[in-house]
């Protein structure tokens, strides 16, 4: 305590001894330094603000423009622009907490279920803003399906799991049509052979990989145009993962797919375009081969070479 008081006194004395001129010179120097520093900083920010690479897609099915998402005061997504092209797989990568899930959940308005979440900007599907007042969430979600990180089949039979969506949307006029939808969805999800004899057993009794494919079949059954997948393989073993990756390859013939993944290899294997998120911003987007071989941004390079994240 005592020595601190002394220090204060000495400082005061020193201040009194400095001449006016020297004081002014020092002030100017500091000012210059500050200006330099801030202009450099704003350059960095400027650069970070705009996304490197082309965020548009040739035949885009969904377009996100200036999307911001807030969780209360937490600004989780910062003016992101991104297109989802038809018949392509686009993967979203980035360190944990950068907003991949938040962004993907904007695309079918699943963020509506979170009380504190607020979405700004526009996301257009077929020329209509899905966040406009007239937009119908039920129809939107039928067109933009979703598969979750953890397989979440309903505690119902395999059949009822797949039939759930078609029943709700009245897609099948009779039992036969429904059977047809269930079978073709399971076939397309590569699960039919394994479950055709146990259609009326609980879906929760399948293995993890089978459950995830059941969830994909369930999403397909409604006839969506886009399928969102948030880390669909993170709860699965390598064999089940390979199964799902093959399936994604197959599915892109009919659907646009947005997949969030923490695995670079997976992004490389399954996607045609890759978008790299960092702290809520879309840093870079481009063809997968380009992003992984010659990233435009230092941040991207650091991430894909495994320097952080």
């Amino acid at each position: 305590m005592k020595s601190m008081d002394n220090g204060g006194l000495v400082f005061d004395g020193g201040g009194l001894n400095v001449t006016e001129g020297a004081k002014r010179a020092a002030g100017a120097l500091i000012g210059n330094l500050r200006a330099y520093e801030s202009s450099r900083l704003s350059n960095v920010i400027e650069e970070a603000h705009h996304t490197a690479g082309d965020y548009t897609a040739v035949n885009a099915i969904m377009r996100a423009r200036n999307v911001d998402v807030f969780y209360g005061d937490n600004h989780a997504i910062k003016s992101v622009n991104l297109d989802v092209g038809a018949n392509e797989v686009i993967s979203l990568i980035g360190p944990s907490g950068c907003g991949k899930s938040t962004f993907i959940r904007c695309l079918n308005r699943m963020n509506d279920t979170i009380e504190s979440a607020r979405v700004e900007g526009e996301i257009v599907l077929d020329g209509e803003n899905i966040y406009s007042r007239e937009a119908d969430v039920v129809l939107l979600r039928a067109r933009v399906g979703m598969v979750f990180q953890k397989p979440n089949p309903f505690p119902k039979s395999v059949y009822d799991n797949v039939a759930y969506g078609p029943r709700i949307h009245g897609l099948a006029p009779d039992r036969q049509a429904l059977d047809q939808i269930v079978q073709s969805s399971l076939e397309r999800a590569g699960l039919w052979a394994e479950v055709k004899d146990r259609l009326h057993y609980p879906g929760t009794g399948l293995s993890g990989g089978q459950q995830q494919r059941l969830c994909i079949a369930r999403a397909i059954a409604v006839g969506p145009e886009v399928i969102l997948m948030d880390e669909p393989c993170s709860a699965l073993d390598p064999i089940a993962t390979a199964h799902i990756e093959d399936l994604i390859d197959e599915l892109k013939k009919n659907f646009a797919i947005v997949i969030v993944t923490h695995s670079m290899q997976q992004a490389r294997r399954v996607s045609q375009r890759t978008a790299y998120f960092h702290l809520g911003r879309l840093i870079e987007v481009g063809a997968t081969s380009q992003v992984f071989s010659e990233p435009r941004r230092k941040l991207t390079e650091d991430y894909i070479t495994g320097r952080f994240g």
Binding site: M110, F154, P155, Y164, A219
Partner: protein, 456 residues
């Protein structure tokens, strides 16, 4: 030294033992098997349990011991009296000691016996106090010496804890068995007077039995069917109120209400379960009953002022929390994943609730309803006050009915001889009720258990 002083000292010893046991491992200065706290608990356990066991044992033995000692000093001619009179004399001795009223003037030998009694008791108290302390000291000293790095104190303490928990849970089990047996024995006596068939299937209930054979209207009829239909009618009405209201409010609270409303509304609903049933009874008898009658009159219906309907409605309100609270819990326990999965397929919130949440939570909901039902069946006060005492065999909710529990109360009120069919009938009813609600509870628990297995 009164025994409880010894117990307090024992407690202090226990704390000391814990402390010593805990310090002990530090003295070894090398790796010991368990954390120090376990050695402390180990010594404390050895300090307290043997001494306590000794104390309890003595408490059991002491009265008989003192009695035999005191009676042995009585003159021989008194000892030749029959056992019952000897008991009376012994009572006199004890009353004298405790300063209570004694029958007649105490004789010489009684006074002598009383002073002997006092001396014995004083000795016994001192003895047990010393014994407890010595036992505590000895066993904890022994335990303390056994504390070594290799002693697996953790395992031993765990085992003691497990035994303690087991003992705690058996208390409830033995109580249940005890209740069941006591009711069973009385009921068997009843069934020696009245045939079980008549009791179970008889359609008329009028439990007055004659004191003199020539009395009028004294046949006595013990058909329990009207009582059970009354119980069923009122419980059914109650469930008719409680299930929809409870379930819907549970759905609202768990799925639609925001956190603030939930924080206020849920405890408020649960307060309903905390209101004394007498208060509900008043409400049913003084407010709902007359209201129903006026209402009935307006439509030209004869509603008696004591009706099954009034009691059932109010009872239904009382058991709403049983349904709503449990349903709310199970609906909340359905994983968020399932909600998301359903919503992501384009289901609306109400479709999600109807087709995913309710089916997934159904076993739990049913469990809640069954618990509410067993509560309704056992309820007495509301029915006494609002549904009357007339044992009508009817399905008309506008008439007065009576229930099993109400009859049990009326059978046992006042001074009763415990060997007449009338009083014993209460135990037979009790047995039947016990079996019914037990069955309901078992079913409820099973259903709830099945629900639990679903997400594992």
């Amino acid at each position: 030294m009164p025994p409880y002083t010894a117990l307090i000292i024992l407690l202090a010893l226990t704390v000391l033992g814990y402390w010593l046991g805990r310090r002990r491992p530090a003295a070894f200065g090398r790796k010991y098997h368990s954390l120090p706290g376990y050695y402390g608990s180990y010594v404390a356990i050895w300090c307290v349990f043997p001494a306590l066991a000794l104390y309890c044992l003595w408490q059991l033995v002491e009265p008989g011991f003192i009695r035999s000692q005191v009676l042995a000093t009585l003159p021989a001619e008194l000892l030749e009296l029959p056992e019952a009179e000897l008991g009376l004399i012994y009572n006199d001795i004890r009353n004298l000691v405790e300063g209570n009223i004694v029958s007649g003037a105490p004789g010489e030998e009684i006074i002598a016996a009383a002073s002997r009694y006092t001396a014995l008791q004083r000795m016994s108290n001192l003895g047990i106090a010393l014994a407890v302390l010595v036992a505590g000291l000895a066993s904890s000293g022994w335990a303390l010496r056994r504390v070594k790095p290799t002693l697996r104190a953790r395992n031993k303490v765990e085992r003691t804890l497990r035994m303690l928990l087991m003992a705690a849970s058996t208390v409830a089990i033995f109580t249940t068995i005890g209740i069941f047996l006591s009711v069973l024995f009385e009921a068997i006596q009843f069934f020696q007077l009245v045939s079980p068939l008549e009791f179970l299937f008889g359609l008329s209930w009028s439990p007055q039995t004659a004191i003199r054979p020539d009395q009028v209207g004294s046949s006595g009829a013990f058909g329990a069917v009207p009582l059970f239909t009354g119980t069923l009618l009122i419980s059914g009405l109650a469930l008719l109120v409680a299930v929809p209201v409870g379930l819907l409010s549970a759905i609202y609270l768990s799925e639609y209400a925001n956190a603030r409303i939930r924080a206020i509304a849920k405890p408020m609903l649960e307060v309903l379960a905390g209101i004394p049933t007498v208060v509900y009874g008043y409400f049913a008898a003084l407010t709902v009953g007359p209201l129903l009658r006026q209402f009935g009159e307006a439509f030209g219906l004869g509603v008696s002022s004591e009706s099954a309907l009034g009691a059932g409605l109010v009872m239904g309100i009382m058991i709403i929390p049983f349904v709503s609270s449990l349903s709310d819990d199970v609906i909340n326990a359905v994983p968020q994943d399932l909600r998301d999965g359903s919503l992501a397929l384009g289901a609306t919130q109400s479709e999600t609730i109807r087709q995913v949440l309710i089916p997934a939570a159904l076993p739990g909901i049913v469990g809640g309803i069954l618990l509410a039902a067993s509560r309704a069946i056992g309820e007495t006060m509301i029915v006494v006050m609002a549904a009357g005492l007339a044992a009508n065999l009817t399905a008309n909710p506008l008439e007065a009915v009576t229930t099993v529990t109400v009859q049990m109360v009326t059978l046992l009120i006042g001074d009763q001889e415990f060997d007449s069919a009338k009083t014993l009938a209460a135990f037979a009813l009790g047995l039947l009720l016990f079996v019914t609600t037990l069955a309901l509870n078992v079913v409820a628990l099973r259903v709830v258990r099945r629900y639990r297995e679903q997400y594992e």
